[in-house]
């Protein structure tokens, strides 16, 4: 009558579709909550999901219900001090409904907020919703070193590890059948002839013929026996060819000014911006490499720790960093193979006549290689020569160059969104 079924191996997430429907429906609510939380929490812990709450009334499913008023009787358990006829003050507040104490529980409501968790993936989807990586290009295929082995049929040559046993055995069997068939036929004929000869009257037998047939049979049997079970030319190998893979890798250069004028607060803002960009790139490319370049009057490639936390003093020469980036690209990241992104954060200070050098560098060399150059200026003050120089670059490469000003931490996310806003296709 009864039986057990182990359903554990079955698919989970039967509700995944319904969950997505819900998220889709309350997209705007969730997006607002996500935006608030992005601004609030430090971006270092972007790597987890988020608890989102939506006003319960916005997502309620209405049905006909009794409202407050009229006469209602509520039976409750646990009477301690009441006697029949006692009068109690009507509890005030609590939403001003006064709908009787037992009622709230029955309706299973009374929560003002509907709270639920987004997974990390869902959270990041919302963070980067509506953003787009400009000029995400599949880099040229021909020159790519990166390939991926793909099955390409069967070949007669190969390494033992790729031997295709089924096909090899089939070949061997076919060969064996094919090679044996004429021999077997000859053998059978010889045997029949021998039998016929031997059945003859002893007087009529031809002993020479018998010997001849016997040696023929022996010869044939030997030949049949010597047909190899498996021969080298039976062997078949799975053939693999190397198919070039579209490049799906990116390098992100983080350039930051670490001169005396950059405070820790500036750097924190810069860091958050870089992290956002990194997360964003990570979602679009299979592989993202990071290169940290910091500079004051001299630029240097450093590791992440040093990049964010060490302090330097002195003046600022931005072009030193750009030159360094250019040479790193030359040396390690061929633009044909890598999607190149540069993100620069600075307070806008620069050595007076260096800005024109930057302009020249960008215009003549760097911009042609890059996918996108983003520049954020972290300053509440008026712009200086560097900004003006960059504006010229922006005019020349409006598709590939973006710059924004950040005054305080809260601006990061909106600015980031602005930089990567989905452009109209065209």
């Amino acid at each position: 009558m009864s039986y057990f079924i182990d359903r554990r191996p079955n698919a989970r997430n039967k509700s995944a579709v319904n969950r997505q429907r819900f998220l889709q429906r309350y997209r705007s609510h969730i997006k607002r909550a996500v935006e608030e939380s992005v601004n609030r929490r430090s971006i270092t812990d972007m790597e987890r999901g988020e608890k989102v709450s939506i006003p319960a009334k916005d997502i309620s499913e209405p049905s006909f219900q009794h409202g407050p008023g009229g006469r209602r009787t509520v039976v409750s358990p646990g009477n301690r001090e009441f006697a029949e006829g006692d009068r109690l003050r009507r509890p005030s507040g609590g939403g001003g409904q006064g709908s009787g104490e037992g009622q709230a529980g029955n309706q299973g409501e009374g929560m003002d907020e509907f709270v639920f968790s987004l997974s990390r993936e869902e959270f990041l989807d919302f963070v980067f919703d509506g953003l787009e990586l400009p000029h995400l290009e599949r880099k040229e295929l021909q020159v790519l070193e990166e390939t991926r082995p793909v099955r390409a049929g069967i070949s007669k040559e190969g390494v033992p590890a790729r031997i295709n046993i089924v096909r090899s055995m089939r070949e061997a069997q076919a060969r064996r059948i094919g090679m044996r068939a004429p021999l077997k036929r000859a053998l059978r004929e010889a045997q029949e002839a021998l039998e016929a000869e031997e059945r003859k009257d002893p007087v009529l037998r031809n002993p020479a013929r018998i010997d001849e047939l016997k040696s023929e049979i022996a010869r044939l049997e030997k030949r049949i026996g010597s047909i190899p079970f498996l021969d080298t030319y039976d062997l078949r190998y799975n053939h693999l060819t190397h198919q070039p893979m579209p490049s799906n890798q990116a390098v992100m250069f983080c350039i930051m000014d670490v001169s005396g004028s950059m405070t820790q607060a500036h750097k924190d803002i810069g860091k958050r911006f870089f992290l956002l960009l990194y997360l964003f790139l990570e979602r679009n490319y299979e592989k993202v490499e990071l290169v940290f370049v910091r500079h004051h009057t001299v630029a240097k490639e450093v590791d992440e720790e040093e990049f964010f936390y060490s302090r330097e003093t002195g003046g600022t020469i931005v072009s030193s960093a750009l030159t360094l980036v250019d040479s790193i690209i030359e040396a390690r990241y061929a633009p044909e193979q890598w999607n190149l992104y540069v993100a620069q954060a600075s307070d806008g200070d620069n050595w007076d006549d260096d800005s024109s050098t930057c302009l020249e560098l960008l215009d003549e060399s760097l911009m042609r290689k890059l996918q996108y150059f983003t520049y954020v200026e972290i300053t509440p003050h008026a712009h200086q020569a560097l900004w003006e120089a960059y504006e010229t670059v922006r005019a020349a490469y409006p598709e590939r160059f973006a710059m924004q000003q950040i005054v305080q931490a809260e601006d990061i996310y909106p600015v980031f969104r602005e930089l990567f806003r989905q452009r109209a296709k065209g």
Binding site: R7, F22, R71, R90, F114
Partner: protein, 518 residues
């Protein structure tokens, strides 16, 4: 009874132990004459359990965001540890599907088998409401059909269009049931086979109703409304349509809404059929849980008495059982209404006590059952009642005293609340009456019926709400009317009646003239 060796000990379970326990419980259940559908017991993970919860216990369902919302809130509660998922999930189907979670301890698995596979299962098979309103053998097939049909509509008409329609239907699903007429059994095969036929047929029916030149109503001549002076030809004389008020709003819309497409009518029908499937469950919460709890308690004790479970499991069980049937008092911070498990368990246990060891009070209150065969009486109660009538019939003074029930009257014409009755001689009957009403679906949900569809005039649909003890409709009324309007396609009017008089009128869309003041 000879004590046997425990089948298993400790807290880890395995399939052999579960099968052995299931057999042992099955034997005991037969001894107690528990008649059940075959059990299909499924072992699932906690994630799968959350999925099952989210689909309100349907093993398969169509897609809708509200199930996603349900899932998210279950998940959140489970993560925070506010909710144990373990207890039970059992589906009224034949075979009866019950879920066991793999994380459960051995005790819990045995308990759930007793509770769900024999308690709820026998209730589903025996109770008159379930017998009359649901068809356990067809439900799974019907759900599969519904899911496929909705998915097909989504493909053809877009997810959004289907979602909007389902939203509207869900808002009215409590009004998708014929309360007094036994519905025809559902069958997925039949549904599929007759679907096209029905689509065409339904549409012609609706077309006839809404044709601009209505055929004269033959035979049914209604005199008094007819104004001879201004309408001598009787052009405006007509019967009210529908001629009787209709309580099944979804049915009425499915058959009569002028603008719905055939596929939309079909979806209205699906929601209606599923609402009907859940209709008995909404009316037997106390009984159903009480029955299952009574039997898991009895069966677990028998297993222990027979030596099939050891003290360790028994203690673990008692601890779990106690928390299930606990009833925090009115003043407690944990108070959340009456716990149906506690009330139901107390009542069934008390019926057993009245049969086995009646006091004078019991003889006076329950002359028919005091001293009778307890098993017989218990089965009788389970078969023939719903919460409302069960309480009316069997709530004993002892249970009222034990739970210290009292009733409080909240009348908006009075500035204070009044304690109407407490657990004393004068109060028992009144409390029983009040509690019975509290569980009556007719008092819990506003009584709203279709009154008139103005098929000759502005095509508006008028609903009538008969107020119960002057209780008005809540704020959610307007969104629901909006949904009604979406389905009907023309203005919706709603009249609240008190003692035969209309006391309030609502309308959607809100007419221009009153919008200012509203």
């Amino acid at each position: 009874m000879t004590r046997r060796k425990p089948i298993a000990t400790g807290s880890d379970w395995n399939f052999e132990a579960l099968e052995a326990y299931e057999r042992a419980i099955g034997e005991l259940a037969r001894e107690y004459r528990l008649d059940t559908y075959p059990n299909q017991i499924e072992i699932i993970t906690s994630e799968q359990m959350m999925d099952a919860y989210a689909s309100v216990g349907m093993p398969i369902g169509y897609h809708h965001w509200s199930f996603g919302k349900q899932f998210l809130s279950v998940e959140q509660a489970y993560r925070r540890g506010q909710m144990g998922l373990a207890y039970e999930l059992v589906i009224n189907s034949d075979p009866c599907i019950a879920y066991l979670m793999e994380e459960n301890s051995l005790m819990m698995q045995v308990l759930v088998i007793a509770h769900a596979c024999y308690g709820h299962n026998s209730f589903f098979k025996g109770n008159y409401l379930f017998r009359a309103w649901t068809d356990a053998s067809a439900i799974v097939d019907y759900l599969v059909f519904a899911r496929k049909y909705v998915a097909k509509c989504e493909e053809r008409h877009g997810v959004e269009a289907v979602e909007q329609l389902l939203d509207a239907c869900h808002a009215l699903q409590n009004y998708g049931v014929d309360r007094y007429k036994r519905p025809s059994p559902i069958s997925a095969e039949e549904e599929v086979r007759r679907q096209d036929e029905r689509e065409a047929y339904l549409q012609t029916q609706v077309n006839r109703l809404w044709s601009t030149i209505p055929a004269p109503a033959s035979g049914l001549v209604q005199q008094p409304l007819h104004d001879l002076e201004n309408d001598p030809l009787g052009l405006h004389r007509h019967d009210r349509y529908p001629s009787e008020p209709q309580e099944n709003l979804l049915y009425f819309l499915e058959k009569n809404a002028p603008l719905l497409e055939p596929w939309q009518r079909e979806i209205v029908r699906i929601v209606r059929k599923l609402a009907q499937y859940f209709y008995p469950q909404r009316q037997t919460q106390v009984m159903n849980e009480g029955w299952a709890t009574f039997w898991h308690y009895t069966l677990m004790n028998r297993l222990y008495d027979d030596g099939l479970i050891d003290e360790g499991i028994m203690l673990e069980f008692l601890q779990s059982h106690t928390s299930v049937v606990s009833q925090p008092g009115f003043g407690s911070p944990y108070f959340n209404g009456i716990n149906p498990y506690a009330l139901g368990f107390a009542m069934f246990s008390d019926i057993q006590r009245i049969c086995q060891a009646p006091t004078d009070e019991d003889r006076e209150w329950f002359p028919d059952i005091a001293g009778s065969d307890w098993l017989e009486t218990l089965h009788f109660a389970m078969h023939n009642f719903k919460d409302e009538s069960f309480i009316q019939q069997f709530l004993s003074p002892k249970v009222i005293r034990d739970l210290k029930l009292f009733s409080l009257v909240d009348d908006d014409r009075d500035d204070s609340l009044q304690v109407e009755a407490i657990h004393d001689d004068r109060g028992y009957r009144r409390i029983r009456e009040a509690l019975s009403v509290q569980y009556a679906l007719s008092a819990r949900e506003p009584n709203i019926q279709v009154w008139e569809a103005d098929i000759r005039g502005d095509r508006s649909l008028t609903l009538r709400h008969v107020q119960d003890r002057r209780r008005p409709l809540g704020q959610s009324l307007f969104p629901v009317m909006r949904y009604l309007h979406q389905l009907w396609g023309f203005p919706i009017k709603l009249e609240s009646m008190e003692g035969g008089e209309v006391v309030r009128r609502y309308q959607w869309p809100i007419p221009e003239s009153t919008r200012e003041s509203a």
